[in-house]
Point group: C2
Chain length 376, copies 2
C-alpha cells in the first residue's frame, strides 16, 4: 500500500470495488529482477496483468513478454515490444493461432508434445521451440497440476522431433509452482533440465536456453524471500548443474512482478450471523470469487486485508462475495480474523492484488460489472 | 440438442467456442412449470441466463423475475416486465441498491438478518420482505453452503423486526440445493416453513407467501425427474404442512428453466500424453473454467459431451481448458470417457449449458475473449 495509492483512493467517489496499481512498484520490481539475475532475460507473464500501462512501462524498461494467446501478443506489440521480445509460452495453441503469431513475427514457442511440435513446424516454419517439462513444485503455495509439460524423459523425443522438422530445438522450460517460497526449488528442476541437455547433446542437438519460468512469490500474509535471494539460489543451481557452460536463461515473472503493486478497495455490504449463538460472523463484501478474487478458490491465496478499524479486538469471520452463488465464499474453512467493530459500509483494502485479479473477473455474473482498474 | 441448434451451428463460420440457446425449449420449460404448479407464480432466476432474448420471451409469457442486482432489475424491466413482477432476491444488498430498486418500483425483497431488514426499512419503506431460511440440501448435486439464509429459529425475530419497522413481513423462502434430484426435498423444508408461519402467527404476524426457491434440475449425464413429478411432490408437501390453508407460492427456476435449452460448441486444441506409457490422455478444449464452464469446479457439474466420433471405442481422458492456469482443468479426478479416435480440430458439443455459463466467463483471462452467445 503506497502513499500514491492511498491518495488516489481518498479522491475516488464512484460506487463499487476497484483495483489500483502503482506503476512505480512495478518499475522497482523489474529493476530488482534485472539486478538479481543480470544475465537472465525477463519475459513478463502478460496474463498476470495485461493492462496497457503495465505493458508499456515494462516494454520501455526493456522487458520481454511471455504471451498466452494471440491477443496477448498483439497487446505486447501495441505496448511497444518488438516481436523478437515475445514468447508464445502457452503449450496449448490452435494451429491457426500459431500461424497468426508467426505472421506477427513471433519466433519462439513452447511445446510439450509431438502434436504441438507438428503444428509449429507447419504454421511457423523454422521457429525456435523449447520443451516444457513437469517438475514437482514442492514448496509452492499453489503447486501446479500436470496440465502443462511432459515428463522429463519424453522431452528429448519432443525436441528431436522438432529438430527433424526443421525447427530450432532451443531449450527446456519448467515451472516450480506458483508462489514458490523455497528458492532452492529451482535446483531440482535444473538437474532434470541438465539431463535433457545431455541426452539431446548425445543425439546431436545442442540446446542453448533454459526458461526458468515463474513462481516468484508476492507477499501476502507471510513474508517471502527477496528477489536477490532467489537470484543467488538460481545462479548457484545453474553453476552446479551446468558448470562453466551456463546456457542462456530467461524468467517469466508475473505475480512476482506485479502482485505487490496492487490494492483492491472493497466495501462491507453485510455483517450477520446465521443464528444468535454463532461465534463466527459472516462478512459479505462487494467483491468475491467472480469479481476478481478467483485465486481464493480452495482458500489458496490468503490476501492481507486492512480495515479502518485495525487495532480493535479481532473476531473470526467467514468472508464471502456479493453474488447469490454458494461457491462465492472466500474464507470459510479457515475463518479470517477481522475487527469485531467492523460495520456495514466500511471500506477494506485487499493487498497484494496486482496480479491475477482484474482479468479473472466475470463479464456480468449476477449482473455485477467487472472489476474497475486504475494504473497510476 | 435441437434441430434448430444443429442447423445454426452448421452455418457458423467464426473461430472460438460459442453458446447457442434454443428459445423454443425455454418456452416449453416455462409452460411445463406453469402447468405442473398452476397456482404458483414463476419468478425466473435472471442470474442463470440474463440474455435479453430470454427475458423478453419470459416476460411475454407472463413470467415474473428473481433479480440478484439492480442491473438484473433494469434488464427485466427493459425486457417488458413490470416492477410488480420483480423480486430483489439477493440477501446481500447495499442500502443504496435497495434505494435504486425502490425507485424503480420494486416492492419485494429477500432478507436473512436484522441488519438487512433495517436497510430495507430505511431505503424501501413499506415494502414486502420474505426471510430466507437455511435448509439441509440433502439430495442436491450441488448443496448450497450456509451463505444465504438464517437458521429457521431466527426467522420469526427477523420477520417481527420487519413488521415493527413498518414493512410487510410477507413470508419465508428457502432453497433445497442446486440440481436437486429428489422431489421430496421440499417436504422437509416446508415443515420448517410451517413452523415459522405458526410462530409468527402467535406473534400477531400473518405470513402469506412461501418462496419455494430453485433447485429444479436440468438433465446432464443422469436422468432427472420431470417437472410434473416435482409439481406433484411439492403440492403434496404443501397440503401436508398447511392443510387447507395453502399460502401463496412462488418458485425461482433458473437452471431448470434454461439449462437444457443451450449447447456449447467447442474445439479440441490438443490431445497429448505426459509420457508415452500414460493410459489417460489429456484433451484440451478452447473453452474451460474461465471461459464459461465455471460449474465444473470440484467436478460438480458433469456435462454430456457429444463428438463427431461417438460410437468409436472410448478411452479415459482428462479434460482441460486453453489457458495456462493449472486450475483450468475440468475433469481429472474422475476422467471422462471420450472416443479414442478423437483428434485435434474436432468440434465437440457440450450439452445442458444454457444456464450458468455465459455470464461466468472471465473478461479476458489469458487474453481469451468471453463466450460468444446466440439465442435463436
Amino acid at each position: 500500500m503506497t502513499a500514491r495509492i492511498r491518495q488516489f483512493l481518498r479522491k475516488r467517489a464512484e460506487d463499487g470495488p476497484c483495483l489500483v496499481v502503482d506503476l512505480d512498484v512495478v518499475r522497482e520490481n523489474y529493476l530488482a529482477f534485472a539486478k538479481a539475475l543480470p544475465d537472465t532475460k525477463v519475459f513478463y507473464a502478460v496474463k498476470a496483468n495485461p493492462a496497457p500501462e503495465v505493458l508499456a512501462l515494462l516494454a520501455a524498461l526493456g522487458s520481454s513478454f511471455d504471451a498466452a494467446s494471440v491477443t496477448e501478443i498483439e497487446m505486447a506489440l501495441a505496448a511497444g515490444a518488438t516481436a523478437d521480445r515475445i514468447s508464445f509460452g502457452n503449450t496449448i495453441k490452435k494451429e491457426r493461432d500459431v500461424a497468426r503469431a508467426y505472421a506477427l513475427g513471433v519466433r519462439l514457442y513452447a511445446v510439450d508434445c509431438i502434436a504441438e511440435v507438428e503444428k509449429i513446424a507447419r504454421a511457423a516454419p523454422g521457429a525456435r521451440v523449447f520443451c516444457r517439462i513437469l517438475s514437482d513444485c514442492v514448496g509452492a503455495e499453489w503447486p501446479l497440476s500436470r496440465k502443462c509439460g511432459c515428463e522429463p524423459a519424453m522431452a528429448p523425443d519432443v525436441l528431436e522431433h522438432a529438430h527433424r522438422l526443421g525447427l530450432t530445438a532451443c531449450g527446456v522450460s519448467f515451472h516450480v509452482g506458483s508462489q514458490q517460497r523455497n528458492p532452492q526449488a529451482w535446483d531440482r528442476a535444473l538437474a532434470s533440465v541438465a539431463a535433457v541437455f545431455r541426452e539431446c547433446g548425445e543425439r546431436g542437438i545442442n540446446l542453448a536456453m533454459v526458461n526458468l519460468g515463474g513462481g516468484f512469490p508476492t507477499r501476502y500474509l507471510k513474508n517471502v524471500p527477496t528477489v536477490k535471494t532467489y537470484g543467488s539460489a538460481i545462479f548457484r543451481a545453474l553453476r552446479r548443474h551446468f558448470g562453466n557452460r551456463i546456457p542462456e536463461t530467461i524468467i517469466e515473472p508475473g505475480r512476482g512482478m506485479i502482485g505487490n503493486a496492487g490494492v483492491i478497495e472493497a466495501e462491507v455490504v453485510l455483517v450477520s450471523k446465521k443464528n444468535e449463538n454463532d461465534d463466527v460472523r459472516w462478512v459479505y463484501l462487494d467483491i468475491g470469487k467472480f469479481g476478481g478474487l478467483a485465486e481464493t478458490m480452495d482458500e489458496s491465496i490468503r490476501y492481507p486485508i486492512r480495515t479502518p478499524r485495525d487495532g480493535d479486538d479481532l473476531a473470526p469471520c467467514v468472508i464471502a462475495g456479493p453474488t447469490c452463488d454458494s461457491a462465492d465464499v472466500m474464507y470459510e474453512r479457515e475463518p479470517y480474523a477481522l475487527p469485531i467493530s467492523l460495520e456495514i459500509g466500511d471500506k477494506l483494502l485487499i493487498e497484494g492484488t496486482g496480479a491475477y485479479t482484474a482479468t479473472y473477473a466475470s463479464v456480468a455474473f449476477n449482473g455485477f460489472p467487472p472489476l474497475k482498474t486504475y494504473h497510476i
